[in-house]
Amino acid sequence: MTPPAPELISTAHSPLTDPELHAWGWEIAVYLFLGGLTAGLLVLCGHALWRGRRSPASAPSFALASSGLPLIGLAAISLGMLALFLDLAHKPFVWRLYLTMQPRSPMSWGAWILVLVYPVLLAGVLLDPPSWLGARAPALTRRFRAIADHDRTRRWIGLVSIATGVALGVYTGVLLSSLGARPLWSSGLVAPLFLVSGMSTSAAIAHVVSPDHGERDQLLRLDSLLITVELGLLALFLIGLSSSTEAHAAAARLVLGGPYTAVFWVGVVVLGLVLPLGLQILTAAGRIADTPVAAVLVLCGGLALRFVIVFAGQTSHWSRP
């Protein structure tokens, strides 16, 4: 007969008042989502800069959509950092982040990566300035137009943008996966999962804002590919956890029959990945009209993924005797 599970009573966390650790709330989930979105936008913009702009017909390169993407990125990362700031419990000391570099702390790396994100996004805005900016600051836009016309410089800025985007996307995952105390997060797949999810959400936004039909079609196919990869990574993530230690398997069970099952399978997998993928395939095949519904679903799915991972992860823990 299987021995009964030990009955554990702790005066530290009373099951009546504090059933589990919840250090991080909605702010971190929102920040990770917006950080991932910005990471994807940086990669798309960097790609556009690398391939060359203003010639979408001869060299499709998300050139038209990219003109608005850095601005969306600036808004997204600013909102994300506001959420991050709201989460801090000791706000007057936030400047302490920038007096040091802690090489073993992913959050320290993230703080410095965020410093790089702003100038790179700003360069993206200025290298292909929106018309209202061109009208108000003609000298500035002329100067940046000259830089944009210099192929080598523009390509380098594109590469820096891609590298910054990948670093930002990967860091949002490493931030969680480095915390071995929470078994759901201690998987190396969280980082690529968040990076691919971030790129997928950015492709969805680019698809909505792009004015060019050919480019929209290209972005649709890119997003379909990214969603497929994301589904694969999610499967590998859960298989990896389930076949690891009992603590990790128990963490996986939080979304495989546990309390987060419904929101994960309905919100993240079906509504956030499978349904938009189906809509995108039908759109690409010309069976249905091109609508922003799939993009909205992808964005909601990306946000739901961060919420599930952040909240379920904090519930997961190592087993006590």
């Binding site: 554990l8 005066t11 000391f93 982040l97 993230g110 105390a181």
Partner: protein, 179 residues
Amino acid sequence: MTRLGMVIDTRRCVGCQDCVVACKTENRTPEGYHRDWITYATTGRFPSLSLLIQSERCNHCDDPPCVSCCPTGASHVHDWGGVVLITRDECIGCKACVASCPYDARYIHPDGYADKCTFCIHRVERGQDPACVAVCPTRCMHFGDLDDPESEVSRLLASRRHHTILPEAGTRPRIFYLE
């Protein structure tokens, strides 16, 4: 090198919570928060039951994840004794250390900074025992230098079976429980 640690005899501990009250009094932790606590684990099937009582707190691990994840260096290992401490004015309250601790030993103080057991370093540096050790009515708690083979804690560990909490978490805790 001094490596401070604690040895707790689970056969003597009766779970009276004197250590919890002493810590609250000594460190004036805010209402609703405490740096140490008692766990009561009942195993087996009636009538063959066994009860394990443990006084728990920050394990001042040799490989503390709360220190490595801290983005500002506020969480640090003290120069003397290897005690894990927090510099309040460097803590931004990001809660990464709270999430990183497999023992849930940390909490966010109502004033915003992360807080936890300090091994009563202010007492230890004056040559006194931590408050929890000093008040224990069953004398089940022992404190000292784990690197000194002649210390009471080292001799107890050499002579008795013992365990740490969640060794599989890989943090190498420095609180040992005699069985």
